[in-house]
């Protein structure tokens, strides 16, 4: 059930393009129906913006700088962290959980396309509805704190686009693995909630990793969390050198490979257990 290598998924490039186009346009249409809900949902990810004001206050109180972070660089970091968090949101665990428990997965399994792709396009198209709102908040945030420059140049934006897409792929695959656990458990969303709490504290939305105790940071570096928010935010704000960025990309690809394989294994084993309840 490897989603990209499966013969059923890819007929020819043209068919692939047609499928992508159809899935994108239909889910984009669906997401625009829910644009107001998406905006409200975005507000639930407001932690980095709150932390931004906390840290700016602290910096101002201690003579304008902490660990090399000025109010403007805090603003840039937390805005970038917030954007990164917004662009890596994945709710596929909830969808999988619902589909498996309610038996809705059945109608998806009857189609000659791995449901993976439909979930992917739901998330992908949603980003285009979320995008304009993100832009407005970023511009507003940059104007509020004087001297804030989110990113030094276009190159960093381009590199960021790559890194943030890899971060999304990581988050999406992790959530997918959590959702697929519902083949074995009564409910998998509790795990996703737990993951979300870890994400909030360990991914960099609370504070840049520089402010964590060195021992804690050393452990966090071995988890996927900083590669979802912290490192992408550092890439966007221009804080990393080229070799450091390459290292980030390498680690991200490694995590993607791990969760990609894990998802495939879990999915294949899970389908055998699927009870198609109520459907």
């Amino acid at each position: 059930m490897n989603p990209s290598l499966e013969p059923r998924t890819i007929g020819s490039l043209e068919q692939m393009w047609r499928k992508s186009k159809a899935l994108f346009s239909v889910w984009f249409a669906h997401m625009t129906v829910y644009r107001a809900e998406i905006l409200i949902w975005m507000l639930s990810g407001v932690v980095p913006l709150i932390m931004m004001s906390v840290w700016i206050g602290k910096a101002a109180a201690s003579g304008g700088e902490i660990e090399g972070f000025t109010p403007a660089s805090f603003a840039a970091y937390f805005l970038a962290a917030w954007v990164s968090q917004q662009l890596t949101v994945a709710w596929v665990a909830w969808e999988m959980d619902f589909q498996i428990r309610q038996g809705e997965l059945s109608s998806r399994l009857l189609r000659p396309l791995d449901p993976f792709w439909e979930h992917f396009f739901r998330h992908f198209s949603e980003r285009f509805v979320r995008g304009p709102f993100i832009l407005i908040i970023v511009i507003a945030g940059s104007l509020i704190v004087p001297g804030t420059r989110l990113t030094p140049d276009l190159w960093h934006v381009l590199l960021y686009l790559l890194v943030i897409n890899l971060a999304f792929a990581m988050r999406f695959l992790i959530a997918y693995c959590i959702g697929v656990l519902c083949f074995w458990l009564e409910n998998a969303t509790a795990f996703d909630e737990f993951f979300y709490v870890l994400l909030t504290f360990l991914a960099g939305g609370f504070a840049p990793l520089e402010f964590y105790p060195p021992a804690a940071r050393a452990i966090i570096e071995w988890t996927p969390f900083p590669y979802l928010v912290y490192y992408p935010a550092r890439v966007l704000t221009g804080a990393l050198t080229a070799p450091e960025i390459l290292h980030v990309i390498g680690v991200q690809l490694l995590w993607i490979a791990v969760f990609f394989v894990l998802r495939a294994v879990l999915w294949k084993a899970g389908l055998k257990r699927y009870g198609a309840v109520g459907a």
Binding site: Q15, V26, V33, G103
Partner: protein, 335 residues
């Protein structure tokens, strides 16, 4: 087209005593038991055949259909559909079949049905020419004009079911598994859906397995029926043969002009019901015309109708008897 041998599906079901104490006990030690939803089913269906799958709720009909459409892995036994092993779920297999579940939907709730059609068109790799031709045909057969561009959630149940059927058949599958396709629909809409399935079968020589609680669906579409009970097949054969065999008598209903005593009526045939001027007699099939002739000439009859017994009743008797023997005039029954 469909070959099934010794198919079984067992589920492990968690059991819990009702109430708080039951919940606390099951929190620490969960009991479970194995339920045999399908217990050794075998049958064979030819290409183009329409077969009715009958049985009470929980008899194993839907589980069998799910195994045949590749959603469930069988616990034991084999199934072949159009030359494929269903649970391998190969793309070419999935393009050959469809499963319509009356109680489930595949259409996107917030968008017009046409959007869901577009997705299926791409996923099933339907060519522009085929899509246009199929849409033209379905729009006419199902009277879809005007409802395809409405949000699905704003459609009536009947309209939605028509769109569900069209979406499920857009890729022109050769094998149709229809699970309660008319559930909850009014009589007119049921007839419409039935006619559509019959037309589709005739047009594409499609093989159809149909389950329904409405016996009229089955009698209108299927010559052959398979009756399942507790996961086993208890009858497999011709519907008309089942009626003849299980009920050797026809029901002659008489509307009388003046009252006739039960004793007198009994001299013609056993009386099933006598209610004032209305009487029901059970007349052996072979003697139906002779006895009704006598009734008409010798009694003050205002009106007479001759009917087969209610099929639901016959099926009900079949469940109760539990010891259905392979009847000599029928195809063999697989237990």
């Amino acid at each position: 087209m469909i070959e099934v041998t010794g198919l079984e599906k067992h589920y492990t079901v968690a059991e819990k005593e009702p109430g708080l104490s039951g919940s606390i006990r099951s929190f620490f030690s969960r009991k479970s038991k194995t339920v045999k939803a399908v217990d050794g089913v075998s049958f064979s269906i030819a290409s183009g055949e329409m077969v009715g799958f009958l049985g009470a709720n929980g008899a194993g009909k839907t589980t069998t259909l799910k195994m045949l459409s590749g959603l469930l892995h069988p616990t034991a036994g084999t199934a072949t559909v159009a030359g494929f092993t269903p649970f391998e779920r190969r793309a070419s297999f999935l393009k050959t079949i469809t499963l319509v579940m009356g109680q489930k939907q595949q259409l996107l709730w917030d968008l017009p049905a046409l959007d869901s059609f577009q997705v299926n068109r791409a996923i099933y790799e339907i060519s522009d020419a085929d899509y246009a031709a199929t849409m033209l045909e379905f729009t006419e057969l199902l009277d879809l004009e005007g409802i395809l561009k409405k949000q699905v959630r704003k459609l009536s149940l009947g309209e939605r079911m028509k769109c569900e059927l069209a979406a499920a058949l857009l890729h022109r599958p050769k094998v149709l598994f229809l699970d309660e396709p008319t559930i909850g629909l009014d009589v007119n809409m049921q007839v419409r859906i039935r006619e559509f399935v019959a037309a589709y079968n005739a047009r594409f020589n499609a093989t159809v397995i149909l389950t329904s609680h409405y016996m009229a669906d089955v009698t209108a579409l299927c010559k052959r029926i398979i009756v399942v009970d507790k996961g086993r097949i208890i009858f497999d054969g011709d519907l008309s043969a089942l009626i003849e065999q299980s009920s050797p008598a026809k029901i002659v209903k008489l509307q009388l002009e003046s009252s006739v005593s039960r004793e007198h009526l009994e001299t013609y045939a056993p009386v099933q019901r006598l209610d004032g001027l209305f009487a029901e007699l059970l007349v052996p099939r072979a003697e139906t015309s002779r006895v009704s002739g006598r009734l008409l000439s010798e009694l003050p009859v205002a009106d007479v109708t001759i009917e087969d017994p209610d099929i639901e009743e016959i099926i009900g008797q079949l469940f109760q008897s539990q010891r259905v023997q392979p009847l000599p005039t029928l195809e063999s029954v697989t237990q």
